[in-house]
Symmetry: C5
Subunit: 362 residues, 5 copies
């Protein structure tokens, strides 16, 4: 029993991460990306109007409030929680929402309030180093504004910005609800491309396995893939529910003609989530494939050993016989005894070779 106790894994003490055990509703940033300043990017547009303002001063956002146009306020950098709180208080956001905006491990969700929708989702991407990044994004959708909060610079909305600026597509002719749709659409497209990368990784490992090129333990890579697909799933599945709910909610914030687009978006995210399930199964299958590869290799090793040993052990025995020092061993005195033995050994050698050939080990 003591022996077993000793075996128990000695863990280094785990100290609780900073985002827990705090006061509910308190606005504490829990992410890792510490932006020097909180940057604001304000895009104000209507059919005939376009204005863009980049600022680091939170007050600049307030000027656009009464605008007749659609205003998209994008906030990059969540670690200056004071600023977030000021913005939140100005827009009259519930304290729990302010908390959710900066709680980066918050699960995707949607809360409906009288004057706005609050949506949390995740933006995924692979860095150039192949690391998988999961960025927390929140969005407040009001009557004529959309506010998005991101952890840091860099996102998947450049195509959308371009369409707004250059009046491409329908976005300039439509309201804040269409902008919300366009943002979510960019996110879902982002998921498609992340899954494509993952799929390429899976195929790469499969090819390695099929071509017997795997020299080292790839369990680690498979385990990493497992974790990535689980994290993607964790981002996709709740967003699917959210989009489904957006399609169905009865709110003045979303016009009926936008519902068609939402429905289409819902079809897309279902497709994403089906892909996630399929790739998940594929990844789990990789482990089995790897096990088979290992077993096949061991089989090959064993065959080499068996062939070498089975051929040379009997031959060595034959040589051993005539190495004995008995006084009376008539074969030793035969004129061609040595050659006869060689003949016998060659016979045995080829006989065994033929045997292994027939067994298809060679």
């Amino acid at each position: 029993m003591t022996a077993r106790k000793k075996r128990r894994i000695k863990l280094p003490k785990v100290k609780p991460s900073k985002n827990r055990n705090e006061v509910p509703g308190q606005v504490t940033y829990t992410g890792k990306k510490e932006a020097a300043v909180t940057k604001l990017e304000i895009i104000d547009y209507s059919k005939d109007h376009y204005k863009r303002l980049d600022s680091e001063n939170i007050e600049d956002a307030f000027a656009f409030e009464s605008s007749e146009h659609v205003t998209w306020i994008n906030v990059n950098g969540l670690n200056n929680t004071k600023e977030i709180e000021r913005l939140g208080d100005y827009y009259n956001l519930h304290p729990l929402i302010q908390e959710d905006i900066v709680t980066t491990n918050q699960r995707p969700k949607m809360d409906e309030y009288e004057d706005y929708l609050f949506i949390v989702f995740k933006m995924l991407h692979y860095t150039d180093d192949g690391d998988f990044i999961n960025e927390h994004v929140s969005m407040v959708v009001g009557h004529n504004y959309v506010t998005t909060f991101q952890e840091a610079d860099g996102d998947v909305f450049d195509g959308l910005r371009d369409r707004i600026e250059n009046s491409k597509g329908r976005v300039r002719q439509k309201g804040a609800d269409y902008l919300m749709f366009a943002i979510l659409d960019a996110i879902v497209d982002n998921y498609f491309s992340v899954i494509e990368t993952l799929s390429a990784k899976i195929e790469f490992i499969e090819d390695q396995l099929f071509q017997d090129k795997v020299e080292e333990d790839i369990t680690h890579d498979i385990q990493t893939l497992k974790k990535e697909i689980l994290r993607i799933r964790r981002a996709v599945v709740p967003l699917r529910e959210i989009i489904n709910r957006i399609e169905k909610i009865d709110t003045a914030l979303i016009e009926n003609r936008t519902k068609n687009y939402i429905r289409d978006l819902y079809d897309n995210i279902i497709q994403v989530s089906e892909s996630v399930d399929i790739y998940r199964e594929m990844i789990w299958g990789l482990m089995d494939m790897y096990m088979t590869t290992i077993s096949n290799k061991m089989n090959e090793v064993m065959k080499v050993l068996t062939i070498m040993a089975s051929i040379f052990i009997p031959l060595t025995f034959m040589a051993g016989i005539y190495g004995m020092n008995f006084e009376h061993m008539p074969e030793l005195h035969l004129r061609y005894g040595y050659y006869y033995l060689w003949a016998a050994m060659i016979l045995v050698f080829f006989g065994l070779l033929w045997y292994f050939k027939r067994k298809k080990w060679l």
Copy 2:
């Protein structure tokens, strides 16, 4: 830690596929089959009337619009998106539908509009090379017309065309809703035959495994089967939902007497989807069977090695004894010492043979 980093798979950069990151509602062809021209095949029929027109000119379709007959317009080739857009605009199709028609990786779905139903599904087949092909088909069902859009020439509707032309079966006596049913019925029959091919592959591999004919790693084949069954499932499951919904929707487009046929079709697609689940389990089972086969083979290899080594190593030892050069070894001087030893060795040889026989290793 650095050692582990190095092991991480270096992927070639994956560039996003062309069908994403675009403007929602924009009509961009995403498939691979680039048809030189968009071909139209127009079949106009009623109980007493049959006319067929093949054309490459989209305007030819418009002439049939006000026809009292049922008109089936089949469009082959989706890469000339301009033509698709013209046809779509003429029929007043929603921009998102036009997008779905050319988005070849769109999941099967049905959208109900006031004047028509829009249905997306997949046509599956194996090429002669054994490749699995998944063709995107869209269908618009109106009051007296059905329009189908396919990626390229070649489909599973020849039997149906023949029945219309030769007035076989009921199709000529019925309306556009029955034509829709007949098209979906041909698709479901197509699924049955694809599954039959898959089932034949599975049985083939099983037979190979049972007869120990598998010489090389068949993991790749099993993995390919897994992917195929998953792709079939992806085509079948949403279509099942669609057919279920068609059976239940309340629309003037579908007559009540056609509902019986739809219900029958629903029974069939349920049967398809059950088969898919069963074959899926079978395919997953193949991997286990293969592992067992490998282990059995290794067992056989090990037995040969063990038998050879266990018999000849002791004999070699015995020969080694009398190869020693001690001055005082009385056995060496016995008159029949050599023969006695042979007798002993033969005894050991057969004793071990008997032992392995009893263990059923021989």
Copy 3:
């Protein structure tokens, strides 16, 4: 890549089975059992009346139509589709029903029509050769008649026939709905006995595995069991749904007092389907057990090899030493050198034996 292409399984061309790609509603027999003639067995009974007529003439059935008694018309042999069509037209059966009667791979289902219920189910049995047979049975239940259609002679209804003839049980006092119940009850009892046979097979294999009597690859047997349980499941699960629906439908065809029996039948089929799930798990477990058996055997083989090699290789080395021809090897000249060496070798021999004994390998 070309190497991998070559490995792809070359399948013999699969030609589509005859029952697909046909006109919907067309009556084409798809089974294998080609009965020479279509046999009719007509049982007409009431509390005080019993008449049985065996015939090969389909018209004989029509004479019973207006009978006040309950009439059970059992049709054996479905390949003379003309006869089936005549009977079907006489009873005014929908073309799709006529198709389902002869489509032997039709999934179990129930269709409610105004004047009758149409039920499709499967009769299962093992032949004496151990083959698993799945016979397609259809049943039309009208106000005072039940018509059953079977592929061939031989069924599980003999007990029921006997009870009708000899007025045992309640069947003679009740109507066509009770007859329907009695037929389904016989089918469910049939499922119980098929599962019993399957369970006996599973236990047999388990016993073989436990007693280490398995000499050859039993993967094939396990795979066969898997297929059988999946086919049983495919018959049972839809019938469970059908019986559940029969219990709940509101139709004049089924009297209320019969509902109690249907409910009891439903309990039974639930029990069947639970058993199916349990045996399924058991069968999947057999594969694991077999793998363990293989591994245990390999362990045993390895132990024999290791013991033999580990004992005799060092001894051979010792003998090899004194087989050397160095001029100056003092041991060779010792008076009892040879005996000393034997002593040492015996010591090594028993030492190693003791070591393996302690390791519990012997």
Copy 4:
């Protein structure tokens, strides 16, 4: 093909068990426990009254019918079906209920009738030999009586009998519905203790595996555990549904104040069924653990072989060199050649030892 046919398992003919293929509603005992006589145990009580009567005469039960007290009639022994039928007819029980009472493999279920509830459940226990016993119990709950039917003597209700007799707890102050609750409560407690035994078995096997004490194939034990947990599950899951339904049904038979107790009971059986699921997973995990143990052992065996062979094969080769009989081998004539060789061999010996040490194989 013929070779494969031969391999098919030849089963001894399975003859159908006696409880099937009979007339529905016919009362035939299907269990194994053949009690010599059917014993009645009648407990009649109210707040101030207690009477107990043990009898073998079924008529004795009828005397208590009109009693104002609560009457618990416990019947032990079901093989005298005549007696059961008489009792059943007296209480006006539906023929199907009478059948269910003696059909020992009937699944747990509840039927609601106007005047009584009929509940079937299972009593589980391990015999002293470790065999798992599954006893069929039926219960009829009327306005002021509860009748229970058991296969044989011996049950889990002694605590309850004692409480009634000695007026402990609430049971004497309450009606037949509370008695029903108390009986079910005893059954659920019985499930808890069966699961505890099972859990002890699992832990025992785990400990054996961890301490490497497993000398023989424990697959059989694990398979037995699997079967036991599946049988427990089969008893627990339907009873859970039954208790849930009892909580919800609207019947005069069950007073509202008893519902609180039923709800509590429902919490308990949910806990039982969760435990069942957890232990099931644990048992399935045992097989994996066992496989790992086997593989670890084989690893150890292989290491011993590899070490012995790798050390002594090179040494034997070295000795073999100097056992050759070439005329010109200068080393043989060196004064200390023999000792030099020993030095070299010792060097090789320790070098390889060090190598295996470094590899952590020693």
Copy 5:
């Protein structure tokens, strides 16, 4: 058969644990933590008022009953069931609730009564020794009081106590329903940190496996992790249902403005339960990883053996040839025969080395 009987595991007799087979509603403590005395900790607060009283006298709690403030009575120690009963009777708690308070293996649940809610949940933590502890906590929530019952001293509510005392956060401005929320919130945060510890353990084992540092059988550790995750799941899943129900129930006990907080809490516990599912999958994956590691090691062992044997067995054979004593062996008399042989042997040696190198075994 007898041989198999013998193999059956002989279990030590399991005696039923003390908490079962008792009278329903009887208050018997079933836990292990026997506190010397039952300690009361009473915190009475409102916006402007704060009073804390620690006592071991149960009557002290009654003084606060009519208080206008919110009163939190925390009871540590459940083994003095008399005290619990007195408190329960005073508050008019149903006997079944009193039983649940001291039944430490009671599953988490919520019962709604007219004047209070009764909630059972689990507090989890790892001891410093790494043991996993599961503490039973009950909570009664009334109009202006919350009573909590814990098995022993030490809990996760210190942060909350601090906030109440120092008037941090909102708790002092709100009622008993907010206190209930704050307690549940602390519990859910507790689950987050337990899962974090578990996740650290999983990563630790993974790292050990990847770095091939695993020297001994870690099955035990994995099995322990499995049990822990299952126990966490058992605490989390029912609490999730409870919180969902709290969000939805219509009771005067919970104010509408508190519902927002409950909804947020519900999001958090969903996140916990998703993590549980993910880590569960991870833990199950560890076993596969371990199996792969073992197989890889065996491969390495086999390679060493194969290389050593394959190289030296042929060489030994060559030496054996020239150790024979034939009279006529011309090579023996060659001037450089010995050197030629060495050359041949070196050739063979490097040839085989090259072969194994090419096979990438070296």
